[in-house]
Symmetry: C2
Subunit: 487 residues, 2 copies
């Protein structure tokens, strides 16, 4: 089978936005809630509080986003939901009124598209919420409800809120706030398919799928793909699967997954023993223990072997998300860890995704702290921001960083060097994760060119020999990386 | 102040439909719920069960409705709600998916309008439901909810479902399933006003307002009227107020109320001591004790004095509703009671409203029994149906029955005679509620004409004298009524 994934994703740099926390609009708008007492924007987030970010706020920040080099936004859920993260869907057809509702979203979609920025939404189709109409009807009418087969009821009566009694229905992860759909019911399946179609028709450019591995109904995701792609063949479908995702990346389901298999070794290599174990343990990815360059190379090569190349190019690569602590905090506040990991992210095949705020050095422990309000300009880490701007720009300038072959050239201690090659274009990327300068004499037999211009970073470079004896001599300061290109 | 009410209502005959119970569509349609195990259509209704009536079913019955002579439908609530009566609103902007959603309603609206049938919806704006998004958010987030001022929270925590703990919020009539809005919050007020505007703009012809007397926020219903009439000056606004409604019928709020002040004496007069007290006691109207004709006349004349004439002509007159037992059952199954009351209903100023099924003799005790599935044709009471058809047709044929003056001519024992006069048209209506024939010699000095043609019913009629000595001699069989017109 020939696998086909959307071309635009191969060239995309994503920005992941948690809508309640990115930007609160400054311009006046028609609002349902006008005199809200939001949680203080700069205060430590709470599990239940709202900070009042909205989609008009995102529109107001499109200059910033575009200037950063972003050309795709992945939103965590925006549909009506009684939770600040909006994973507890109340209505799949309504954008949350606090975000501005469907009209604000339409405005955002048009404004983003006018700038060639794509929009991908988070689809939470495994479970809904206690207030979701069809589940609510079961709460209200018990066995009399016509919707009783839409969820997984185990016994009566249900206890949706009082934890002293068994819930008597299946909630995701045992959480009674998240009743799980009965996907084997053809009506439920059809209901979800139509939601997917509705928003694709509305104009979104793809779906990020929340915990899709939980849905085990045969053919479910195949049908999802078929129906979405029938409307927009270029729609992007990316699943939240943290580990080996071959089951879903066979070309008939997702175009990619959230690539935590990239994030984990990249953090383990660049942050090493700086990793704050408390911030990563017990999660579904493993940025610990530290990796040497050779171990990192092995992980990366294993990852690149795992899925077809067409899929690799449309993976959603990331270093952090709303589901993890922020990279800077995981790395114990160490800025070079962030910069090195970001260098590896922006030079890897597949679409990089930057979690809002990471680009300005926003720290944050695990949820809820990882979902802080986007900081005031005065509090930005300019160096981290410039690193992001620079690396994103380089990725856009050099096609080989996006779709070129990936070739490990050298690993020794904490020095990792690789090349990206596309047709006649070739770049060499080197990362010295160690605390001492690193020197290497690299066999470049397999390179077609002699990249010697420093496009990023500082390093001493020298080329030796010719043809089969060609070597690149590299001296990289501690905790830095570089990109070399042909002049 | 000149009071203005919608002209079309003065000429309307309403049909009240309880959507879950009127008609289930036979034609195939796109349905969210396709394999529902509905409660058996003919089985005794239950408080929580659904029978699956829908709006396509209403469309399929428009021939029947139109043939009956109906030119306006008042629907009990149709918005998304987790209750078979749909008074527990879950979403004010969505027609319930079981009814066919907004698309089915649009289709119905267009089909009805094409037949010059108006559509009035039931607006439940005092309270919502536990699953209503803005209340649900409070359930989920407690004091953190930004919507906390939208309802009347008294303490924490809330107990929405477990009756062993105090609800800690105001529920209508103490019912925790019906959280009461905080109408004093300007955001809530605006929210409700916009709903009213939305559906008027959508094309509905008016609002029936549920328990509007509960909303005591100054100016609320005045603003409601102003905003609705600004969009459609002919929109009908009718409040559910059971008693003296002068407070709302001053011309600045409602065009009329559900006229239980008409229903009660009319039943008390026509059904008399047949009234099954159990079916009427403890309700907010008083169809008991029995009334003699003179007492009935007094009640009616008091009622006609209570409000301006322009309001009288747009009252919503009824004999039964979803909130009462059915007339036939109240009258202990006595068909003549139904026919006599219906005669009085169809000859009274103001728009008559027939509760679906009453026209075919459907019985029913108080809720839930008063909300049975509309019977199969085989089970119709043809005589009651013909009575309805005939009386409705007469009302349409004779403008004086709609907008003519109302003049009591004669009361004696259980014989009640009155005239309706408009310009040169004059009809005399007589009802003998007694079990013996009734003879009367009626002074008709105030009549301009000598109605002597029997348009309805059987009676012996003779005119005597001329001018100031003019008398009508009438002999009416027991438990019958008649209408006399000029040949």
């Amino acid at each position: 089978m020939q696998i086909h994934t959307p071309d635009w994703v191969k060239h995309a740099v994503f920005y992941q936005i948690f809508p309640d926390r990115f930007a609160r609009s400054k311009q006046p708008h028609r609002k349902v809630l006008r005199n809200a007492s939001w949680e203080d924007w700069d205060a430590m987030p709470t599990l239940q509080g709202y900070k009042g970010g909205d989609l008009w706020g995102v529109i107001e920040q499109l200059d910033y986003i575009q200037d950063l080099g972003i050309n795709a936004i992945y939103f965590t859920p925006i549909f009506q939901s009684a939770s600040n993260h909006r994973y507890h869907t109340h209505d799949y057809y309504q954008v949350d009124p606090m975000l501005g509702g469907n009209p604000a979203f339409k405005e955002l979609l048009d404004a983003a598209h006018a700038r060639n920025i794509k929009i991908v939404l988070d689809g939470v189709f495994n479970h809904a919420s206690r207030g979701f109409f069809f589940f609510h009807d079961i709460l209200e009418n018990g066995p009399y409800s016509p919707w009783v087969d839409w969820f997984q009821i185990e016994d009566w009566p249900l206890s949706p809120y009082n934890g002293e009694f068994p819930a008597n229905y299946v909630g995701w992860d045992g959480n009674r706030a998240l009743p799980v759909f009965n996907h084997d019911n053809p009506e439920v399946r059809e209901y979800i398919m139509e939601i997917a179609e509705f928003w694709i028709t509305f104009g979104i450019d793809g779906w990020r799928l929340d915990v899709p591995f939980e849905i085990k109904t045969p053919g479910f995701w195949q049908e999802f793909r078929d129906r979405v792609k029938a409307i927009n063949p270029d729609a992007y479908i990316v699943g939240e699967v943290w580990g080996d995702s071959r089951e879903w990346l066979d070309g008939t389901q997702f175009d990619g997954v959230m690539n935590y298999l990239f994030a984990a070794p990249t953090i383990a290599f660049t942050a090493g023993d700086r990793v704050d174990i408390e911030q990563v343990q017990g999660r579904s990815y493993h940025p610990y223990p530290p990796l040497f360059a050779a171990e990192y190379a092995a992980k990366i090569q294993e990852l690149l072997q795992l899925y077809p190349w067409e899929i690799q190019l449309t993976q959603l690569n990331l270093l952090a998300s709303h589901d993890t602590a922020r990279l800077l905090t995981i790395a114990g506040g160490d800025r070079p860890s962030v910069e090195l990991a970001t260098l590896l992210l922006l030079t890897f095949p597949g679409a990089p995704s930057i979690y809002y705020g990471d680009e300005v050095g926003l720290p944050g422990r695990l949820d809820p702290d990882s979902r802080r309000g986007f900081p005031l300009e005065a509090n930005w880490d300019r160096e981290i921001l410039n690193t992001h701007r620079h690396l994103i720009a380089l990725r856009h300038t050099h096609p080989c960083l996006r779709t070129g072959d990936y070739q490990v050239l050298y690993t020794q201690g904490e020095l990792y060097v690789f090349a990206r090659t596309l047709d006649t274009e070739e770049l060499v990327v080197a990362v010295n994760a160690g605390t001492a300068s690193a020197k290497a004499n690299i066999d470049t037999t397999n390179l077609h060119t002699q990249p010697q211009k420093l496009l990023y970073g500082t390093a001493e470079i020298e080329w030796h020999g010719e043809g089969e004896n060609k070597h690149l001599s590299l001296n990289l300061p501690p905790r830095t990386g570089c990109i070399l290109g042909v002049g």
